[in-house]
């Protein structure tokens, strides 16, 4: 609390990014965890909640006649523009937020105060939802070729690896330890994915400390052991996901890449994915394009092209496809590394797994995949996503890129994934929100020391609870697209990569399709389910009635004609597929050019009470209608409620009031 200089400012204006004419007047609150803007409007009192941990930058702009503008950019790509009447207040808010957005210890993060009102047992259950031992045994491991090793118990060998690692049976502790000494940060080769159909596997590690000529017998034996674990193949691929130039530069620092001459039976391959700094800049450039006010088509397309973002997405996908092909089609095992083996390696291993195994395309499987390739193998969430105040050069959208790869695949294989776009967006949101403990810290070791599981809740349980919101209505577990490998040869052609406005312009609802096919189909499916249930009930009632009438057959009549008529009217009434009705007199719509979307459209769709009130009379704005249908009211659980709206709120009244 001591960081909040100014808990409340009145008469603040929240600007609409698309149309400066539209600004909401309201009150700004700073709490220990959120920035909250409450609109003055008497009825709706629309609220905007932003978690401090979502804030990526705050910019105080030059004071104007109307006040002092404050620009808040968020990690979930929301951009909030406030105008605060007094410069002094603005300064206080600014200084407070600067501090609040950059916590210095983990305990300050939201997950330590977030309380979804679950008891201890429920929390523990939540953490058990994703179990990696279960996952490896699903893959068929341990088996004749692979075993679990406790060489890293107490993080004795590698402090960024999990305590339990899966290694080839022939890799002794001596080999593992020896190999680890020859690898950056001791990240020795360990199993990421095993294909039980053909024994091919994906292993991961960091770069070898080969310099210009160094060798390590144990490391060579380690790779040999990986090859032997796949008796059907006489070589393995070693994939270095860096551009060749970067890898060569590393040799001068005593690091580098495997020399094919020193390792028997490896095929070495570079797949150039750029490093975190290039990616950070690329995202920055793309976001600048997204933020342009009414850009022309060429501004936008050139900006997108110049950012290089989609090129990088493609590079990651290409690497994933290469590996998936090697495993599925050639039956060859692959060792993947980059420099430290926690960024590009994680991206590529998880894309490949996703292509290979339909399980990872289910909701549960996807959680397992992130847990396996990202959380357990020490992806540095804290550094990359800037949860605690730290070196800005460590920040990079590494997992964002992976999430986008998944979305690009979903666009091309619409029936292949059990989950929908919303699921991805919410996961991205929570990687930054620090509302759940899953992604805290930089490694499993740190999480264990912080006792994360005892003190925070798991995101996976939260998502699992709201499963229906995240279902892809086109997914059927018996559909051909959900079986086996997503055939990489069919997969991404260059031109198929698209800008993901659902993510990067997530909060500009006016830019998105006004009707959502997903939500529509989800509503239809839910109705179908209810119809199935009703059919059963009606069937029973009918059977009972018929039985009782059979017993009571004294009376004969033919009321069919009349009831047929009535029956018809029944069906007419119940044709609930009639259009969502809207009111015609939405006076609140200011006239605006068609190019400007209106975020509030959906909020203005009226309830059934107003349906009859449409006034055909020609008032000045009589055709100020909108064809936007309120899809949220059709979606099963009431909700396009994105976490920005719900994340804090469900639990935060207390925090809010306490301030």
């Amino acid at each position: 609390m001591e960081h909040i200089r100014m808990p409340k400012v009145e008469n603040v204006r929240l600007l609409d990014r698309l149309s400066s004419r539209k600004a909401a007047l309201g009150t700004l609150y700073l709490t220990a965890t959120h920035v909250i803007f409450v609109e003055n409007g008497s009825e709706t009192r629309k609220e905007t909640w932003v978690l401090h941990s979502q804030i990526s930058s705050i910019e105080k702009q030059a004071t104007t006649a109307t006040g002092c503008p404050l620009l808040i950019r968020c990690k979930n790509f929301q951009v909030i523009q406030l105008v605060i009447p007094q410069e002094r207040d603005c300064h206080d808010v600014y200084i407070s937020l600067i501090r609040l957005a950059r916590p210095v210890k983990y305990e300050e993060l939201y997950c330590f105060s977030f309380n979804p009102k679950l008891d201890k047992e429920e929390r523990e259950q939540g953490w058990k939802l994703v179990d990696l031992n279960e996952e490896y045994s699903r893959m068929g491991i341990p088996n004749n070729y692979w075993q679990i090793s406790d060489v890293n118990r107490d993080y004795g060998v590698c402090d960024s690896y999990p305590t339990e690692v899966y290694v080839p049976k022939s890799a002794t502790a001596h080999i593992i330890v020896g190999s680890s000494k020859f690898r950056s940060r001791r990240r020795f080769p360990a199993l990421s994915y095993y294909c039980k159909d053909n024994n091919a596997s994906i292993c991961r590690s960091s770069q070898p400390l080969s310099g210009f000529s160094a060798r390590c017998l144990e490391d060579e034996q380690m790779l040999q052991a990986i090859r032997k674990a796949n008796p059907g193949s006489d070589f393995i691929y070693v994939v270095d996901t860096r551009p060749k130039l970067n890898a060569m530069a590393n040799r001068a620092a005593g690091k580098g890449y495997e020399n094919e001459d020193n390792y028997s039976n490896i095929k070495f391959q570079f797949i150039g994915i750029e490093n975190i700094h290039v990616m950070r800049n690329s995202l920055q450039k793309m976001l600048e394009v997204c933020e342009l006010k009414s850009p022309s088509m060429s501004d936008f397309l050139w900006g997108l092209e110049n950012s290089g973002w989609l090129k990088h997405i493609k590079a990651i996908m290409d690497a994933g496809i290469f590996i998936a092909k090697a495993v599925a089609e050639e039956g060859v095992s692959v060792l993947v590394h980059c420099s430290d083996g926690w960024d590009r390696t994680a991206q590529v291993c998880s894309v490949a797994s996703l292509l290979l195994d339909p399980y990872y395309r289910t909701m549960k499987g996807f959680m397992v995949l992130i847990e396996k390739d990202w959380v357990s193998f020490g992806h540095k969430f804290n550094h990359r996503y800037g949860n605690l105040d730290g070196d800005p050069k460590e920040i990079s959208p590494v997992i964002d890129q992976f999430i986008e790869c998944v979305w690009q695949l979903m666009e091309q294989f619409p029936c292949a994934f059990e989950f929908n776009e919303r699921f991805l967006i919410h996961i991205q949101h929570h990687i930054y929100s620090c509302q759940f403990g899953n992604f805290l810290c930089n490694s499993p070791k740190e999480r264990q020391e912080l006792k994360i599981q005892e003190r925070t809740y798991s995101l996976w349980a939260h998502l699992w609870k709201n499963r229906p919101d995240y279902l892809n209505p086109l997914y059927r577990s018996d559909h051909s697209q959900t079986q086996g490998t997503l055939h990489p040869q069919m997969a991404p052609c260059n031109f198929l990569y698209k800008f993901w406005s659902g993510m990067y312009n997530r909060f500009e609802k006016g830019l998105h399709p006004r009707q959502s096919v997903t939500d529509y189909l989800m509503a239809v499916k839910e109705e179908t389910q209810q119809l199935e249930e009703e059919l059963e009930v009606l069937g029973e009632r009918l059977a009972n009635l018929q039985k009782s009438q059979l017993n009571d057959n004294k009376f004969k009549s033919k009321p069919q004609d009349r009831s047929k008529q009535l029956g018809l009217s029944t069906s007419n009434n119940s044709l609930a597929n009639t259009p969502q009705e809207y009111s015609n007199d939405l006076k609140s719509f200011p006239s605006r050019s068609p190019s400007q979307g209106d975020e509030e459209d959906s909020a203005l769709i009226l309830t059934q009470d107003n349906l009859k009130s449409s006034d055909p009379d020609l008032s000045a704005n009589s055709d100020q209608e909108s064809g936007v249908e309120d899809l949220s009211c059709r979606s099963p659980s009431g909700g396009g409620c994105l976490p920005s709206e719900d994340s804090g709120k469900d639990s935060d009244e207390a925090v809010f009031l306490a301030v």
Binding site: A416, F495, R514, V517, S574, P594, E629
Partner: protein, 532 residues
Amino acid sequence: MEFAELIKTPRADNVVLHRPFYLAVEGTLCLTGHHLIFSSRRQDNAEELWLLHSNIDSIEKRFVGSLGTIIIKCKDLRIIQLDIPGMEECLNIASSIEALSTLDSVTLMYPFFYRPMFEIVEDGWRCFLPDEEFELLSSATDEWRLSCINKEFSVCPSYPPVVIVPKSIDDEALRKVAMFRHGSRFPVLSYYHKKNGMVMMRSSQPLTGTNGRRCKEDEKLINATLRPGKRGYIIDTRSLNVAQQARAKGGGFEQEAHYPQWRRIHKCIEREGASVLVHGTEGTDSTLQVTSLAQIILDPRCRTIRGFESLVVREWLQAGHPFQQRCAQSAYSNSKQKWEAPVFLLFLDCVWQILRQFPCSFEFNEQFLIMLFEHAYASQFGTFLGNNENERSKLKLQQKTMSLWSWVNRSEELSKFQNPLFEANSLVIWPSVAPQSLQLWEGVFLRWNRPSKFLDEAHEEMISIIKYNKELQAKVNALRRQLAQLETVDRMQENLRHTQLGIVSPLGSSSVSKLHTVSAEAGTLTSTQLYG
């Protein structure tokens, strides 16, 4: 002329066909007067490709030894490759295709030879007549009239015989207005917005020239369409610069001083319940794009299949968009004339963009738009032949060719073009035109270059989800009916028993109202399911 003269080698064997995403197939190639036909000789899985010569946009030849290769690029943007053994055969075939795909005479085109194999339920040439359109209009307003001034195409060669004009303007005045407008395209009604009585008219540019010529009747006509106190906009689809330059060639634009209720704007369309007059230079291209897109946005009828067909007929065919000139060649052609331009395709792309943003508001699907694109460029039907109604009538298309609509509007075909997600939406649909909201129309531009299997499967899945839902709904309704029936019987039996026992039951007459309750319940139940 005999087609046979043009076909030097009618048939070649051992030809190999290459297409993206398909394995190469070997087979026989045949040339007929209007088609290139390739059939694989495989017994198990015979495959045939029929390509209209008129669909071929360009053709390239290559030789490696005596093996010739022909690369055919089509107006529908498909590219195929044929490997033909024998240099002479290959050359002959290439030159035949070239000749057959660039026939000069319209009457040699396939529509004049095509004999339909389907039963004609409704003659497409008799659909969408101006009279019907006017009847709809008269139910809403009496300020407009049908004018037959152009009966023999004598006033404006690119207008249809019948047009809708303000009632207060007589034919004599129209003739004078026609003299003042480029190509005699005087202002006519394009769309009447019933909700507020505002109208959209279209015309060509006024011939003001450099010395600011005026036409009293033109001013009267345009002003007559506005009620007192109302404003209107003249939307000049050209930039101000281009419009100003047009004056040097005798064209120009309206001076606001002479049209006091009107404001002239260039390219920007506002939204405030005002009437508009749209024109560019000739009023046959961008003008029609603008007026027809506006109708898609404003008028739910245009988002139905028939309504869209009617829009294409009214605002493109009858309005005199020169299809024959614009669609003579396409993207791949090396010999494009300056009048070739994908104006209609651009319009269809815009419709697709709106369809993507409002996927539940259109009765038709993407395939419907793609079909129209194909037929505008190459077709067995006469609908898109000619440049205007005048030419079409001279070609006697109605007598000699089949209408596209006769084929499309049969239930077998319609089912392919129906959007399973459609729910009539009576509202205005404002699309977003931000760059982030616009996408490449993959269905056309990547159609032959992307694997579509997974997208097709998704579409099928969508259809089956909705179909199953409708089936269940029907079943539930049937059961409800049956139950209601039985319950009535039950009730009557009970009453009878009561009567027999000498008790007058107050429920006796209420069995019907009971049924009403049931049906009402049924209604609310489903609607809460949907809306709840």
